[in-house]
C-alpha cells in the first residue's frame, strides 16, 4: 500500500504558482441529486454527468469563467395505474430528464499559496431541461429553457505539475417557466484542471 501512497504524496507539497491572468480548463465527472419538482419526477440520483469549465484568473484569488454541463436523470417506474379525473392509465413508465446547463461564474479562492485551496462562487445562466416520459408506444416531452443560478463551493488540490484535482458541489437552481416547474439539482463532481 505504501508504494502507492508515496508517489501520490510526492505530487503534493509544491504550491501551484499561478500567474495573474491565467487560463484554467476543467473537465469534470459529476453526480446529480434531484430536488424539488425534478425529484418528484425522478427520485433517483444520476451518475451520468459531464462538465466543462473555463476560468480566467483576474488575480491570485479571483476568477471569472464559464461552466457547461450535461446530466442525465433516469428512473424506471414499475407497472402502475395513474388516475386523473375520470381517466386511468396503466403501464410501465420510463422517465428521463437531460439537463444541459451553461453559466457565467465568478469565484473567490482562499488560502493563497497553499496546496489545498477552498473556493466559493456564484453564477448565472440557463438550463435546457429536456423532460421525457415514455409509456407504452408513446412519448411525452417538454423541453423548456430556464433561467438558472449556480452557486458552488469546493476545494482545489494542486499537484507538482501545476495541474489540480478539484472536488466541488454545485447547486443548479432553475426558475419556473410556463411550460415546467423549476428544475433544480445538486451536482457533486470531481474535476481535473490544467492551464495553458
Amino acid at each position: 500500500m505504501l508504494r502507492y501512497v508515496l508517489p501520490f504524496s510526492l505530487l503534493l507539497g509544491a504550491p501551484f504558482v499561478s500567474k495573474a491572468q491565467q487560463n484554467i480548463y476543467m473537465l469534470e465527472y459529476s453526480m446529480g441529486f434531484p430536488v424539488g419538482d425534478l425529484n418528484d419526477y425522478i427520485n433517483e440520483p444520476s451518475f451520468r454527468g459531464f462538465n466543462f469549465g473555463y476560468r480566467y484568473m483576474l488575480d491570485e484569488n479571483r476568477a471569472i469563467g464559464l461552466d457547461m454541463g450535461w446530466q442525465t436523470f433516469y428512473e424506471l417506474k414499475d407497472l402502475a395505474t395513474y388516475t386523473e379525473g375520470t381517466s386511468s392509465i396503466t403501464g410501465i413508465q420510463y422517465r428521463y430528464t437531460n439537463a444541459f446547463t451553461a453559466s457565467v461564474q465568478i469565484d473567490q479562492v482562499f488560502s493563497e499559496g497553499k496546496d489545498l485551496r477552498p473556493f466559493i462562487g456564484i453564477g448565472a445562466g440557463t438550463s435546457y431541461m429536456r423532460r421525457t416520459l415514455d409509456m407504452g408506444l408513446y412519448r411525452l416531452e417538454r423541453d423548456p429553457w430556464q433561467f438558472m443560478l449556480q452557486p458552488e463551493a469546493g476545494v482545489s488540490l494542486y499537484m507538482r505539475n501545476g495541474n489540480a484535482v478539484i472536488l466541488s458541489a454545485n447547486y443548479y437552481l432553475g426558475f419556473k417557466t410556463k411550460e415546467l416547474e423549476a428544475q433544480s439539482f445538486l451536482g457533486i463532481g470531481i474535476a481535473y484542471a490544467f492551464s495553458d
Binding site: 465527472y29 451520468r48 433516469y74 437531460n98 408506444l137
Partner: protein
Amino acid sequence: MNRSLRNVLLLMTGVALFSSCYPDQPDNIDEYDIVYTNYSPTYDFKAFNTFAVPDSVVIITGDLAEGEQPAKVSPEFGDQIVGRIRQNMDRLGWTEVAPTENPDVLVLPSAVKTLNVDAYYYGGGYWGWYYPYYGYGWYYPGYYPTYTSYTTGSLILTMIAPDDLSPTENQPVLWVGVLNGLLEGSDASIITRMTTNIDQAFKQSEYLQQ
C-alpha cells in the same frame, strides 16, 4: 499536452460519448402495453344491471360503403376477447342477456391494427442509437439508416346504452377501455397479454361494480 492529461481527456471524452440521453428502454414486448379507461360521470352505473356483448370483434378499417359488412377479428382471438369481457362483467355483478332482450348496456369490442415503419441509425456502438424523431437528421459517415417494421394494435371496449341510440346524434359513451401495444410474438403470447390487459381495464374501473 502530457500523457496523463491526454489519458484523462480521452477517458472523460469516452464517458461523454458512451453516455446516452436515454440509458434504458423496454426489453420485452409486454413492457409496451398500456391500458386506458375513462367513463362519463353523468351516468350512475348502479342504475344499470343487464348487459349484452356481440359474438365477434369488429376490425376498424375506415369508412364502409353502404351495405358493406365490417371485417371481423378471427375467432381464435375474438372468442377469447368476448369471453374475457363476459367474465369480468359477471365478476362485477352484471347479468348478461341476449341483445334482443333489451339490455341496459352494450359492451362493443373493436380492434385497430397499424403497420409502422421506422428508420434508425446505428453507429456501431460509437454514437449509440438515435431515432429520427429525436431530431437527429444526420448519421456518422459510413453508417447508414436501417429500416424496421412492427405492428401495433389497439383493442377498444365501448359501453353504450341502447336507450340513448339516435340515428342523427353522436352516440354517448358510458365507459371506454383502450388496450394498446405491439402485435408481435406468438398468437398464444398475444392472447395472454390481451386477456391480462382486459382484466386490468375492468380492475381499474371498479366503479362499474353493481
